[in-house]
Amino acid sequence: MPPMELTHLQRLEAESIYIMREVVSEADRPVILYSIGKDSAVMLHLACKAFYPSPPPMPLLHVDTTWKFRAMYEFRDRVARESGMELIVHHNPEAMAQGINPFDHGALHTDLWKTEGLKQALDKFGFDVAFGGARRDEEKSRAKERIFSFRSADHRWDPRNQRPELWDLYNVRKRKGESIRVFPLSNWTELDVWLYIHLENVPVVPLYFAERRPTVKRAGSILMVDDDRFRLQPDETPLQRSVRFRTLGCYPLTGAVESVATTPREVIQEMLSTKTSERCGRAIDRDHGASMERKKQEGYF
């Protein structure tokens, strides 16, 4: 038989599956951090492949801010139902009580809802290894992070003291209270993710595809008016524009792009000619130079 050269997508898929199986074999209580985005969707699809015909032997955890797009909540509940996996939704009670929101509280919104919320959820349910869909091409400090990212008992990341990661050998040993964040999509790029979604028919939130949606332009971003909590400024009237999203987060913090792409195939076509990066619409990445690194050290994903 002639040799069969694997494509880069086949090699990436095999590596991700290997990583997931390694975790399930060595962790006490693993969990998939499910943020409803396209990377989460691919991660879940890979988990289904890795453990087939068993369902993925871990629950899904959504650390919610209450400010996601409505379409995301619908999609999340449908996916949980169809995959047969347990879905845990955690809201930081403190952020809830204080009414923290993206309009009034800026960086505190991310800090309390997401960073603190995540730490609370991991501690509360005793998860020792959490899968995240982060990719190294997203952001400069991500490029420096190991696939298995060790966190101290108070969830801190120390970039200067990471475990060497050689070959396919991952060290999953830790003490009680310590945890590990694992990124099975580390070596994928945005284009790889879309090629895979196209090839494998992975379902994703419809917000990734263009549609006429009510929007306003504010400080160079196109924001979608998703519900009546959106605070319009006196001079603003929502306009119907054909837009889609490249990443999904809290709707008042996530900028859309004008687009006509309505299928993964057309999204790939757009990607091959784009001149801006994926996260340029995400307000939280732009706080200041090293903000992502700082957030990660404090326990953000």
């Binding site: 038989m1 069969m4 086949q10 060497p164 050689l166 790939i268």
Partner: protein, 623 residues
């Protein structure tokens, strides 16, 4: 007719993958070169470029001079110090290939990170500053890359613009590197003169500044270099079992990544180390069944027989299985601030196998500069040495030179859980196959019965002068009166005979306790109650002795005397000497003592007399 977009998508889908590492010393212009490569490959997008340009100085004509290195140094500490701390992974893609660029730090102190980056790379770009030529770090990087098995090398002689694109200088560097490369067994080297800053010979056409150079540009070479992605398929089939999938009563699948070879439905396979035979029934990948799968794929296999097979076992082609052994010669790269201590027990992870391993001894350490072999007793951070290893269970393995997946391993510290070393198995020692346990007619229970007692080890640990020997002596006297058969092993005494060759370095202390542990075990086999009084400063070694004994047989007794109290007593005058600097490596003074985590008994000598303490020990043994 195929739609042009579909054709384009298909091309992207079918691309191969090339992982390469870029190594250079500090200030060789590595970050600039990589930044430029990404930029020319159109991987840096407008908003990213704008963010970087904002921080860059304007040139004389008022334009911003883009500092390409700023595109890749991502950590705050790196920007502060202008150096690269950790391995980073960058991606770019062309029509032909997807590339994963491993950006490895050049500082010597980060050698462990370099090895991390090189372990999965297929090609290495060794970057040289044309003004400086071949440096110590250049040799180190080339040696390390070759050591982990990289076969394709590019010698990128950078900053050619700063030496007036001088051909003679380039040739000289190529020659010097070539001589070293030959000595370490690097066969395939492509030398390319470049300028990361100006973009000469990086992308596309050859630079007009170097008409004398007639080879490819760096990118053209990367596109065309033949990395045989299918060579693993030519090897015999092996798959480490990661996870056993028991979906239901009818399905029992073995999940893993095929590390070499090809597997087809119906193939005869062997499960190692047990050696049980079976046939492949199904090859499952998600909802589809495959007829055949190749190295590099993650699959789930089911077998036709109910063979015993679990995580860590290896499924291999029946007529050409890998070896199984428990003693090896291995090359070890040490990655921790705390040195490798021969005799200490570490976790060793190889494939999905995790065993306890000890380095028996070090044959030598390699001076990476001169390639000389230097005598060594331990390995310090970033050292590379040759050791003999023994494992507590047999390992399924292949020599590293034959198979990276079944020959490469990591070493994990049992106390801190840190990854402290990496290694490559060279071969199994013949003695591991030739020394067998001699069956004896009398069993240990028979001997104990004859003495009418239960064998035990009373292990006294504590600082020098804590009172270990005093209490141990009293315990032995009391047991004698109760007609028990005992033997007292004392730290000072064994150092006159059995251990007279050992000093007081950490490595020698570990070996001291290892030998005493073995002696204590032989004595419990003989049915004795062993009373051992040793400072034994490390928890790892006390745990090691504990594991040698039957459960419940080892009693750790912590003679807890504060350093100040022991020092005031100073019966042997040793503290005085140590404080005066006349005695090196003295526990509690300039050598650490790790108090027991969870001893069977703690004796507070500030509250108890030796008599009372001895009675507590007797109660522990004979309740």
């Amino acid at each position: 007719m195929v739609d042009p977009l579909d054709r384009q998508i298909l091309r992207h889908q079918r691309k191969g993958l090339l992982r390469f590492i870029v190594c250079g010393s500090v200030d060789d212009g590595k970050s600039t070169l990589i930044g430029r490569l990404l930029c020319d490959a159109k991987m840096i997008l407008e908003d990213e470029l704008a963010a970087v340009a904002e921080g860059c100085a304007r040139n004389t004509s008022g334009e911003r001079e883009i500092d390409f290195s700023k595109l890749v140094d991502g950590l705050a500490a790196e920007r502060e110090q202008g150096i690269t701390i950790d391995v980073a992974y960058r991606f770019f893609t062309t029509g032909e290939r997807k590339y994963i660029v491993v950006d490895a730090p050049g500082h010597e102190q980060y050698t462990r990170n370099m090895i991390t980056g090189a372990s999965k790379a297929e090609l290495a770009v060794i970057l040289i500053d044309a003004r400086k030529g071949v440096l110590r770090q250049t040799r180190r990087h080339a040696y390390l890359c070759r050591l982990v098995g990289i076969r394709h090398f590019v010698l990128a002689v950078n900053k050619m613009d700063l030496i007036g694109y001088d051909e003679a200088r380039f040739r000289l560097i190529v020659e010097e590197f070539g001589a070293f490369a030959e000595r370490v067994g690097i066969v395939d080297v492509r030398a390319i003169p470049v300028s990361g800053l100006r973009g000469d010979n990086l992308f596309g056409a050859r630079s007009a500044n170097m008409g004398w150079y007639d080879g490819p540009s760096l990118m053209d070479h990367l596109e065309s270099v033949e990395v045989d992605a299918t060579s693993d398929q030519a090897k015999p089939f092996r798959m480490s079992v990661q996870w056993v999938n028991r979906a239901n009563a009818d399905f029992r699948g073995f999940a893993g990544l095929i590390s070499s070879g090809v597997v087809r439905r119906g193939d005869s396979v062997r499960v190692l180390p047990s050696g049980k035979m079976s046939k492949v029934e199904r090859i499952v990948l998600a909802t589809s069944d495959l007829d055949c799968a190749v190295a590099g794929q993650s699959v789930t296999l089911t077998l036709t027989d109910e063979v015993d097979c679990g995580r860590g076992d290896v499924i291999a082609i029946a007529d050409d299985p890998p070896e199984v052994a428990d003693q090896f010669e291995a090359t070890i790269v040490w990655m921790s601030e705390s040195a490798l201590l021969p005799g200490r027990a570490y976790w060793l992870k190889l494939g999905a196998q995790a065993v306890t391993a000890k380095a028996q001894g070090l044959k030598y350490q390699v001076n990476v500069d001169t390639l000389e072999h230097v005598a060594a007793k331990t390995l310090q951070l970033n050292a590379i040495g040759l050791a003999t290893l023994s494992t507590d269970r047999p390992l399924v393995f292949e020599p590293y030179a034959k198979d990276r997946s079944l020959g490469g391993f990591i070493v994990i510290d049992k106390q801190s859980n840190a990854t402290v070393g990496a290694g490559m198995l060279n071969f199994a020692l013949r003695r591991s196959q030739n020394i067998h346990w001699q069956a004896t007619a009398l069993q240990r229970d028979d001997r104990a019965q004859l003495m009418n007692q239960k064998p035990a080890v009373l292990w006294f640990t504590g600082l020098s002068g804590a009172g270990k020997s005093t209490i141990a002596n009293l315990v032995e006297l009391k047991l004698r009166r109760m007609n028990r058969h005992t033997f007292l092993l004392d730290g000072d005494n064994v150092r006159h005979g059995l251990n007279k060759d050992l000093g007081f370095t950490d490595a020698d202390r570990v070996e001291n306790i290892r030998r005493v542990g073995e002696v204590a075990r032989l004595m419990t086999d003989a049915g004795l109650i062993v009373i051992a009084a040793f400072i034994s400063p490390f928890q790892a070694e006390r745990d090691m002795v504990r594991r040698l004994m039957a459960p419940g047989e080892f009693h750790e007794i912590f003679v807890d005397t504060p350093l100040a109290a022991a020092e005031t007593r100073d019966v042997k005058g040793l503290y005085k000497k140590a404080r005066a600097g006349q005695l090196k490596n003295f526990t509690g003074v300039d050598s650490p003592y790790e108090a027991p985590n969870d001893p069977e008994l703690r004796i507070d000598t500030t509250k108890l007399s030796p008599e009372e303490a001895a009675d507590l020990v007797i109660q522990l043994l004979i309740p």
